[in-house]
């Protein structure tokens, strides 16, 4: 049993933490890639900024772009804003998350909002971002090992995985969708892409150092075991929602668990050949759209349901 508002906050807590991690990693990879004055560096910058819908800020120096991506409090889609919102949501449900979990988040929040954060970032952005990402991992680890894996935790997980599905899909869309975008084929740029998805080392273990777009696509869409592949992520979403929906009296045909099941099945039966025959866009667009529908269905089922449907007899 849990309050609808609390479920909502935990869900967003998961989303914002995932977003903060992803944005930090994009910034970190982007800054690292620009150390070499090559076209690959420019491509990496373009990928990262396009993936967060800020391709137009490419006019800025990469350092400035990254700094604003990380520390701009006016930008609602920055790391610092995401963490502030994550913390705000956590504060609303402070009674639901363990002290260990809360402390990791609070510490991280205090770090990025510290008055010295800007200087620390300027002095060593790589270290700064490395620490932020590590802290997010510590948060996730604390949540995993100290919170009961019940409803609260599951809502947080659903938020995290839904956010991840959308972020990875957008990243892949930027690189591999047909159309007027850039073609990313530079070896070093592709390595950067894998780093942005936190996938380089797991990828190498499967495909060795042969970095090819079709393998990257296959890995990040279909791999069964890699925690950032879309297939893996949709399986988790389906799994958590199926368990959450068990307790809900009002099961409709549009229940989020059914939508998630449908998406999972879609990915189960698709393969690389289909992906290449029809183009990556179609599938990636489906993933993004279905995620939005699942998001809405979660609201209708668990959070903002019509009262008259749930009145006690």
């Amino acid at each position: 049993m849990m309050l609808a508002r609390v479920a909502d906050s935990l869900y967003w807590l998961g989303r914002y933490m995932e977003r903060a991690e992803h944005l930090s990693r994009l910034s970190s990879v982007m800054l690292n890639a620009t150390l070499d004055q090559t076209d690959a560096g420019a491509q990496a910058v373009w990928i990262a900024l396009s993936a967060v819908g800020k391709a137009e800020s490419g006019a800025l120096a990469p350092f400035e772009a990254a700094r604003s991506l990380v520390l701009d409090r006016a930008d609602t889609n920055s790391v610092v804003s995401s963490l502030a919102r994550a913390r705000e949501n956590a504060r609303q449900v402070r009674d639901q998350i363990t002290t260990e979990t809360w402390e990791r988040l609070n510490l991280l929040y205090l770090r990025v909002t510290d008055e010295n954060a800007g200087r620390e970032f300027a002095d060593g952005s790589a270290n700064f971002l490395h620490d932020v990402i590590s802290d997010v991992h510590l948060f996730k680890g604390a949540a995993d090992t100290t919170m009961s894996h019940g409803e609260s935790w599951r809502f947080m997980m659903v938020g995290m995985y839904l956010e991840r599905a959308q972020l990875v899909s957008s990243l892949l869309e930027v690189c591999f969708a047909e159309g007027p975008g850039r073609v990313i084929n530079d070896h070093i740029a592709l390595v950067s892409l894998l780093r942005m998805a936190c996938a380089l080392e797991p990828y190498l273990r499967v495909y060795t150092a042969e970095i090819e777009p079709r393998h990257i696509l296959e890995f990040l869409v279909f791999d069964e075991d890699f925690p950032r592949s879309i297939r893996f992520v949709t399986s988790r979403i389906e799994e958590h929602l199926a368990i959450l929906a068990r307790h809900t009296e009002a099961n409709g045909r549009t229940g989020p668990e059914r939508l998630a099941g449908r998406l999972k099945a879609r990915l189960q039966f698709a393969d690389l050949d289909e992906l290449q025959a029809q183009g990556a866009s179609a599938l990636l667009t489906t993933v993004v759209n279905e995620c939005s529908r699942i998001h809405e269905a979660i609201y209708e089922t668990f959070v903002a349901y019509p009262l008259e449907m749930r009145l006690p007899a």
Binding site: P306, L307, E308, L311
Partner: protein, 327 residues
């Protein structure tokens, strides 16, 4: 006199609202001089109705409508048998003023001696009192003083439903020299209380008799004043029609002012304005009870506090959270 009353209240919302809660002060009083024969409420959309007695002893009915709805209709039907007044009160001696100062009166009627809500001695009212030599009236005994006050107010104001609305302060009527029953009652209450005479607001219905010189609107609810005189206990004066209350008056609820006994008030959730239409008919029983001739759009009041835009709701909530006093 056996009277049948039908009081229809219709709320209409521009867009659907939900979770309406509403309280009604509509049931006629049960008292020695009026017998409640029957009372029923019809509510659309249907809802379960609950009741309680408020701190002034009035019967309050309340209900909620959780599902989305764009209208709410309340029909209150009652049948009341009123007693004719066989012996009208007579003037008293000046000692009544002293009796009003007794601890018992001041204790028992504490609430009806204080300014409250609409009942305030404002500078405008003070000016009115000066202009009409109201203080002079206190040279008479309390009963005659109130009677004269009732007459003064009746003559000083014209009845005009177009000037004030349900939440107008008395100053509006004082300035325009016109108003409705509610304004006259509030003005009279403020003066009586300033005299140290307990006085309360009465909401109810009037079986209008034009022949008898009534000027109130027959299709509206009515309001008047009751004052407490130790020799008579509570007696009613109707400054709108310059009469003492009799068998044509049906009392519903008493309070410190209109705000205590609004016939209907409620809150709802939703981003929509509400419009209110009220119709009242008071008929002699056995005469055919007809629907009111028309449902008029009365005072453009919104007794609803919750019709704010949703966009600002968060800001309001934050502000209120801060307003909470820390102890």
């Amino acid at each position: 006199m056996l009277l049948e009353i039908r009081h229809i209240t219709q709320y209409h919302y521009e867009r659907s609202v939900r979770e309406s809660l509403m309280e009604l002060w509509m049931q006629p009083q049960k008292s020695a001089r009026q017998r409640l024969v029957s009372f029923e409420l019809e509510i659309e959309p249907a809802a379960q109705v609950f009741s309680y007695a408020d701190s002034f002893g009035n019967a309050v009915y309340h209900f909620d409508v959780p599902q989305p709805h764009d209208g709410l209709t309340i029909i209150a039907r009652s049948a009341v048998e009123t007693e004719p007044v066989l012996e009208w009160p007579m003037p008293l001696d000046m000692g009544e003023w002293e009796r009003l100062k007794s601890t018992f009166v001041r204790g028992e009627c504490f609430d009806y001696l204080q300014p409250h809500g609409f009942v305030q001695v404002t500078p405008a009212l003070q000016a009115f009192m000066d202009a009409h030599d109201i203080e002079e009236l206190r040279r008479r005994d309390p009963f005659s003083a109130v009677q004269a006050l009732c007459d003064t107010i009746y003559k000083a104001f014209e009845y005009d439903p177009g000037v004030t609305d349900a939440d107008s302060p008395i100053d509006l009527a004082l300035e325009a020299k016109r108003g409705v029953c509610q304004d006259f009652a509030h003005i009279m209450l403020a003066i009586c209380r300033s005299w140290g005479m307990p006085a309360r607001y009465v909401s109810g219905y009037l079986f209008t008799d034009r022949e008898a010189g009534d000027r109130s609107d027959p299709d509206a609810t009515h309001a008047w004043v009751e004052v407490f005189l130790p020799s008579y206990r509570w007696i009613g004066f109707d400054p709108t029609n310059n009469v003492m209350t009799g068998e044509r008056h049906v009392a519903v609820a008493v309070g410190r002012d209109y705000g205590d006994v609004t016939p209907s008030r409620g809150v709802y959730k939703g981003d929509s304005e509400s419009h209110l239409a009220v119709g009242v008919s008071v008929r002699r029983a056995r005469a055919a009870v007809a629907e009111p001739e028309f449902l008029r759009l009365p005072r453009p009041s919104t007794p609803f506090g919750a019709s704010r835009r949703r966009a600002s709701a968060d800001a309001i909530r934050e502000h209120q959270q801060r307003q909470q006093q820390q102890q």
